[in-house]
């Protein structure tokens, strides 16, 4: 027979009707029989109705219980107790009626009433069993199997009311039922999950439920001698089995709670251990700060280990000092003595392979001689994250050898968990910092690129090719062109500083250039004014280097001044050689007054068709070959230009960049690379 049939919800109303009708017919028949009424049921019909009543009551209880699953033992047992007291009161009401041997009233009291009271009795018993099932069910296959078997036997016993069994078979049946019954009586695992506060109530309920069932059983046995259902009580296996089982189960659970009282303390400790884990875990996912995690670890260990004193020492950044987080009663002076004593411990017996130190009796160790021995046991967990010392957790107990293996293992797991949390913290912080740096770099690069001229002038007599490659760290390179009538001016500069700061300096410098455009045709005046502005605008440790070039195509002449920048390379097509122009000139922002004028050297130079001028920043000169460790210097660029003088400006620029790239051999340049190639045509 399929048990799942019992759980069909739609059966609920039908079953209610069947229970009531079958009971009504049985009771009516009994009354009619007693008072010699007009109409008496055949004996087998009566038995069939009794069986129907039992079966439907059992099934109804199972169906209804499934509809209202409640698993809190305290509430469940309270309901069972209340129902039990109510039922017991109902059935005992018969005792209030006059007792005796004669008369219709006495007959009612002794014969009819018990039969009427059997409705609440059978319903209550079935209902209680269906409720107890939730406690018994340990959610294992074997429990469920046993429940099915026992339920099947209950159904059999209910059906058996139709055909009262001969005594031999009846006893065999009882014997067989004992097997699943006893198996189920042992299923009291739920008592382990009881809340400490509800344990005492549960015990009281169980105690009373046991008595209620005993009372019902006694009443049933007494009444049965006068005949409810089938003569003697023993011949009614269905109510009997339910009463016995329910009562015994309450008794077993009561005993289990009683004898497991000491165990429950351990269970509570484990539960709080698990809670501790959860809290630590939450901290990890909520990214508590390192301090939060350390504090949490200390609290957890202090609370869950039952230690009388505990502390966490952590090194203060950038110093030899340590910070203390303290719990319990221990003086700071004592802490430092314990710490230094623990640090001295090299005894392999007390240093576990997991790295914790367990001093089972400080009085027996020399290292702790100076202590007052207020505390005897010490347990220490030095913590390091990624090889860096993060702190030390110490727990103290007053009695010696106070931590058992379980406690040490448990605390060790906490420490490991916290270590993971700290490690994760650090990784996240690193990732955030990296992201920030990357963003800053990207912004700086963009700012700097925006500062470069969008449009390079291309007059008919001149080719200009420019390249700008930012380094990993943005520098302060810049260049700009200004056209004034036929004349063309250009500056190439480099402000000291790296990163965002350098980019802002370049922006400021561009402003300085533009505010002095009127003086472009007077190089010394232009530079002097720029120097003034730089002195006024920038900090004293910031300076800039610059090359100024002014082309006068009508005179085939160019004017130039070098203010501390890389020298100007000039290729003469007529001579077929490249040379650095010999000159002097000081960087801007160094001499901070107008005496700077005397450090400015303005030079004039003639140019002809196919002559070449190359300007570059120190990113090229200081490019380092990873193998030799030498810098690229000035000579190599000179040779490249001399070799490729017949190419266009663009091509020469590419040749130089390629040569520098080969020289760097996969490394990145340490500074920005700016390159300007000018070819006259």
């Amino acid at each position: 027979m399929s048990i799942s049939l019992l759980r069909i919800k739609s059966l609920n109303p039908i079953l209610q009707v069947i229970v009531l009708l079958s009971w009504a017919f049985v009771a009516g028949n009994a009354i009619s029989e007693a008072y010699e009424g007009p109409f008496i049921l055949l004996s087998w019909v009566n038995n069939l109705l009794i069986a129907l009543f039992f079966v439907s009551a059992l099934m109804l209880a199972q169906v209804r219980a499934d509809l209202r699953r409640s698993t809190d033992p305290e509430i469940l047992l309270r309901k069972i107790l209340v129902g039990g007291l109510f039922t017991l009161t109902l059935v005992l009401l018969s005792q209030l009626f006059p007792q005796g041997n004669k008369g219709p009233i006495v007959y009612f009291t002794s014969e009819i009433y018990p039969l009427l009271a059997s409705l609440p009795l059978i319903v209550y018993l079935s209902w209680t069993f269906a409720r107890l099932r939730f406690l018994i069910d340990e959610r294992t296959a074997s429990t469920r199997q046993m429940l099915k078997v026992f339920l099947g036997m209950l159904l059999l016993s209910a059906v058996a009311a139709f055909w009262p069994l001969p005594p031999v078979l009846l006893y065999i049946f009882y014997g067989l039922a004992l097997i699943p019954a006893f198996s189920l009586l042992m299923r009291v695992r739920w008592i382990a999950g009881l809340q400490p506060g509800s344990r005492i109530f549960v015990m009281a309920y169980l105690f009373l439920i046991t008595w209620v069932h005993l009372g019902l059983l006694l009443w049933f046995i007494v009444q049965d001698s006068q005949g409810i259902f089938h003569g003697q009580a023993i011949q009614n296996p269905f109510p009997l089995m339910l009463m016995m089982f329910n009562g015994l189960y309450a008794l077993m659970a009561l005993l289990a709670v009683l004898f497991n009282w000491p165990m429950s303390a351990i269970m509570e400790r484990r539960n709080s251990d698990i809670d501790g884990f959860q809290t630590l875990h939450e901290q990890i996912s909520h990214r508590g700060s390192a301090e939060d995690i350390q504090e949490l670890l200390l609290d957890l260990c202090y609370r869950n280990s039952g230690a009388k004193a505990a502390w966490f020492t952590r090194p203060v950044e950038g110093g030899n000092q340590v910070q203390y987080l303290k719990r319990g009663e221990v003086a700071l002076g004592q802490i430092s003595r314990w710490e230094s004593g623990l640090k001295l411990q090299q005894d392999p017996e007390i240093i576990d392979r997991d790295g914790h130190i367990y001093v089972s009796d400080a009085a027996r160790h020399d290292a702790f001689k100076e202590l007052a021995f207020e505390y005897r046991t010490a347990l220490s967990f030095p913590m390091s994250v990624n090889g860096q010392h993060e702190g030390n957790l110490v727990l103290l107990q007053r009695v010696e050898d106070a931590f058992d293996d379980y406690a040490i293992r448990m605390l060790g797991t906490y420490v490991n968990q916290a270590r993971l949390a700290l490690e994760k913290n650090r990784l996240v912080a690193q990732a955030v910092e990296n992201e920030r740096m990357k963003n800053e770099f990207e912004i700086a690069t963009r700012v700097q690129e925006n500062l470069l001229p969008k449009h390079i002038p291309q007059p008919s007599w001149l080719q200009i090719s420019a390249a700008y490659q930012p380094a990993q760290e943005v520098g302060g390179d810049c260049y700009d062109f200004f056209e004034k009538g036929e004349d063309l001016y250009m500056v190439q500069g480099d402000v000291t500083g790296k990163g965002m700061g350098a980019a802002f300096n370049v922006a400021e410098l561009k402003g300085i250039f533009h505010s002095n455009l009127d003086y472009l045709d007077q190089p010394d005046e232009f530079l002097l004014r720029v120097n003034r502005a730089v002195t006024a605008c920038f900090d004293r440790d910031i300076f800039l280097t610059l090359v100024y070039l002014g082309f006068r195509p009508l005179q085939n002449q160019f004017v130039y001044a070098r203010a501390g920048h890389c020298p100007v390379l000039f290729y003469s097509a007529s001579k077929g050689e490249a040379t650095y122009l010999d000159d002097k000139g000081m960087g801007l922002g160094i001499v901070r007054d107008d005496s700077y004028r005397k450090y400015i050297q303005v030079n004039n130079h003639r140019f002809d068709t196919n002559d070449i001028i190359v300007l570059f920043s120190d990113g090229i000169m200081e490019a380092v070959n990873p193998e030799s460790g030498e810098e690229y210097g000035q000579e190599r660029i000179r040779q490249v230009v001399a070799r490729h003088a017949f190419f266009t400006a663009d091509e020469i620029k590419e040749k130089i960049l390629e040569d520098v790239k080969v020289y760097l051999d996969g490394e990145r340049a340490g500074d920005d690379i700016t390159l300007l190639v000018i070819k006259f045509q």
Partner: protein
């Protein structure tokens, strides 16, 4: 002799002389070590030293931040009649000073003896 070891790989030895100090600079004057160097130099200026001889025989490299240290402290020293004298600089390092035009501002000599003479 008073030795300062900086974690950035720059070693400074200072040696007091009459009216000033000889600073032996060893290692790299890059962006990070320049910060330490600047602090040290400012301390010495605050202590009243006026003439500084920088012995750069073992100065391997100087970045613009390193030059910035000399440039930014220059006025405090020169305004009070002091001076910066560099001796024994490697060619590559000297070249950096030369390009920037600092050879017109500070004194550059080959040996300590010449440097001492320059001061007196």
């Amino acid at each position: 002799m008073n030795t300062t070891n900086k974690p950035s790989g720059l070693h400074l030895n200072s040696e007091p002389i009459a009216g000033g100090v000889i600073l032996h600079i060893k290692g790299d004057l890059d962006a990070s070590s320049s910060l330490d160097f600047d602090i040290r130099l400012k301390e010495m200026i605050a202590e009243g030293h006026r003439n500084f001889i920088f012995d750069g025989e073992e100065l391997a490299y100087i970045a613009s931040a390193g030059l910035g240290v000399f440039i930014s402290n220059k006025d405090d020293v020169y305004d009070q009649g002091g001076q910066f004298v560099f001796c024994g600089l490697k060619e590559s390092v000297l070249n950096v000073f030369t390009l920037l035009g600092l050879t017109d501002l500070f004194s550059f000599v080959e040996t300590r003896e010449e440097a001492l003479q320059t001061i007196s």
